[in-house]
């Protein structure tokens, strides 16, 4: 595997540190004019999601981590694994465990496309698109009246996710939700 020297470090680079794949978040070059140069580097450990801060002597290097992001369609779960399939026409399937699926679980809808991060060929994490469209399966009955008042109520979506929605939303409607904040965005007009 290739390795990267400190002067190749930049945000987004994936490297191995202490045996774990990490993504470089920030790289600060520090050097007194007449002295030894250092790199102060912030990395996120992709296994634990923890952010590490490490110092390197300029010229040190780290091994590249075999980490790639792939678009995959979610197929089904067998209870233990969640199965995804490459959208490149190869139909290649990858089982992701609960740890890899993580918080994406509540946004998983069959046939939707997700970003699956592979480490050494196995799913490491699953990232939903920024916006998903999901059906409301349960919420209190729609309340007539002053919608401008901006009250809200919880609604359960088809994936099990619970989001706060305006009072006028009813069961069976399809909603657009921002997966980053978990917030309701709008109703999706049925065509």
């Amino acid at each position: 595997m290739a390795s990267y020297s400190t002067n190749e470090f930049r945000g987004g680079l994936k490297v191995l540190l202490d045996g774990d794949p990490c993504i470089i978040l920030e790289n600060e070059f520090v050097k007194p004019g007449k002295g030894q140069a250092f790199n102060r580097v912030k990395l996120r450990n992709l296994m634990t999601n923890r952010v590490w801060e490490r110092t390197f002597k300029s010229g040190e290097s780290l091994e590249a981590a075999d980490v790639i992001d792939q678009d995959m369609e979610y197929l089904y779960t067998d209870g233990e694994f969640w199965h995804f399939m490459l959208t490149d026409g190869s139909f290649e399937q990858y089982p992701a465990d609960a740890k890899a699926v993580g918080d994406a679980l509540k946004w998983l809808k069959e046939q939707d496309v997700y970003t699956v991060t592979l480490y050494n060929g196995s799913p490491l994490s699953v990232t939903p698109p920024n916006f998903v469209e999901l059906e409301v399966v349960d919420t209190d009955p729609g309340m007539k009246g002053d919608t401008a008042q901006g009250g809200s109520k919880p609604a359960t979506l088809s994936t099990g996710a619970v989001v706060n929605v305006p009072l006028f939303i009813t069961i069976g409607e399809v909603l657009k939700v921002d997966t980053r904040s978990g917030e309701y965005v709008s109703r999706v007009k049925s065509s």
């Binding site: 002067n7 790289n27 600060e28 070059f29 520090v30 050097k31 007194p32 004019g33 007449k34 002295g35 030894q36 140069a37 250092f38 102060r40 110092t55 390197f56 002597k57 300029s58 010229g59 040190e60």
Partner: protein, 322 residues
């Protein structure tokens, strides 16, 4: 992995204008004091032996000469002019350092370097203060000893501490195996960069003087409080290192020994040996007048003038856009 090319400059129009004003200010300052402006090669035959400076090698073929180095500073050429009897001189030049890039670094930058014959380090620090404070409109700097700064902010005596104590102190930043071959000066550089520098020049500009003799390859050395210290000074403003100056070493034999020692150190660090600049050493043999010299980063001076945190805000085209 490289993004789309960007054609626009990264500095604002206001920054570009301020850069031109700064240059006019500098030239006016030296004209008034009768210091001669000179130009020396950016492309030289030799690089430098300094273990912490990586020059950029150039592939040049011209006449019987091939190869060359983009200069890391105009120092050797300017000292040859001093040896030739030019008197006090200054230069605004582009200098090049490989691998240096960040919020405060660009591999190519503008340096103001000047030499004052008959000045010692203290006299030159006064003149430097006139220039910097005249341009920035700041308070005059206070002077702090390197030793006191390390004691105060890093909690260690840089001269009295054993190598082991220094390494222990650095374990806050580096793993033991990274520290193994860092060396004493490397440890001190780490402490200076991470523990000390951020505090320097916060309330008002600050000179640091009295560096360990090992950290000044071209400065005179004297003993104070039982330790060998170099007549070297640096100016810090708002935690930013702005310049480096020496009461210059004029002894050619001593200079040659220091270059050879640096080359041995380069070999230890796995870096290639550099050919000694014999023309420079011959100039020293001829006789360098008693003088002090200082090199000041003009891009950083402009950062301070404009109150910006990133050098790309004062460069028309930093290397990633060049």
């Amino acid at each position: 992995m490289t993004g789309e090319p960007v054609w626009q400059p990264s500095a604002s129009q206001a920054a570009l204008k301020s850069r031109a004003q700064q240059l006019a200010f500098v030239r006016g300052f030296f004209a008034q004091r009768g210091v001669l402006e000179v130009e020396t090669p950016v492309l030289g035959r030799c690089g430098v032996t300094d273990v912490n400076l990586d020059g950029i090698h150039a592939q040049v073929t011209a006449g019987s000469r091939t190869g060359g180095w983009l200069q890391t500073s105009p120092e050797y050429h300017m000292k040859r002019l001093l040896a030739a009897g030019c008197g006090s001189i200054y230069q605004v030049s582009r200098v090049f350092r490989d691998g240096e890039q960040g919020r405060r670094h660009n591999p190519e930058f503008s340096m103001l370097e000047w030499y004052r014959t008959g000045f010692d380090d203290v006299a030159l620090m006064e003149e430097l203060s006139d220039l910097v404070c005249g341009w920035l409109g700041c308070q005059r700097p206070v002077v702090i000893q390197y030793r006191d700064a390390l004691k105060h902010w890093a909690g260690i005596d840089p001269f009295a501490a054993t190598d082991r104590e220094l390494m222990r102190r650095c374990e806050q930043w580096l793993e033991p195996e990274q520290l193994a071959d860092l060396g004493r000066d490397g440890c001190l550089d780490l402490l200076m960069s991470f523990a000390v520098e951020p505090h320097l020049g916060r309330d008002r500009p600050m000179f640091i003087t009295g560096y360990p003799a090992s950290q000044a390859s071209l400065a005179r050395v004297s003993r104070s409080h039982g330790y060998e210290t170099a007549h070297r000074f640096e100016l810090y403003i708002d935690g930013l290192e702005l310049c480096n100056g020496y009461w210059e070493l004029t002894d050619p034999k001593e200079q040659r020994l220091r270059f050879e020692a640096e080359n041995r150190q380069r070999l230890r660090f796995g870096k290639p040996e550099m050919a000694l600049d014999e023309a420079f050493l011959a100039g020293l043999e001829q006789g360098l007048p008693e003088c002090s010299g200082v090199a000041l980063g003009l891009d950083r001076l402009l950062m301070l003038k404009l109150g910006v945190q990133d050098i790309s805000e004062v460069l028309a085209f930093p290397f990633e856009r060049a």
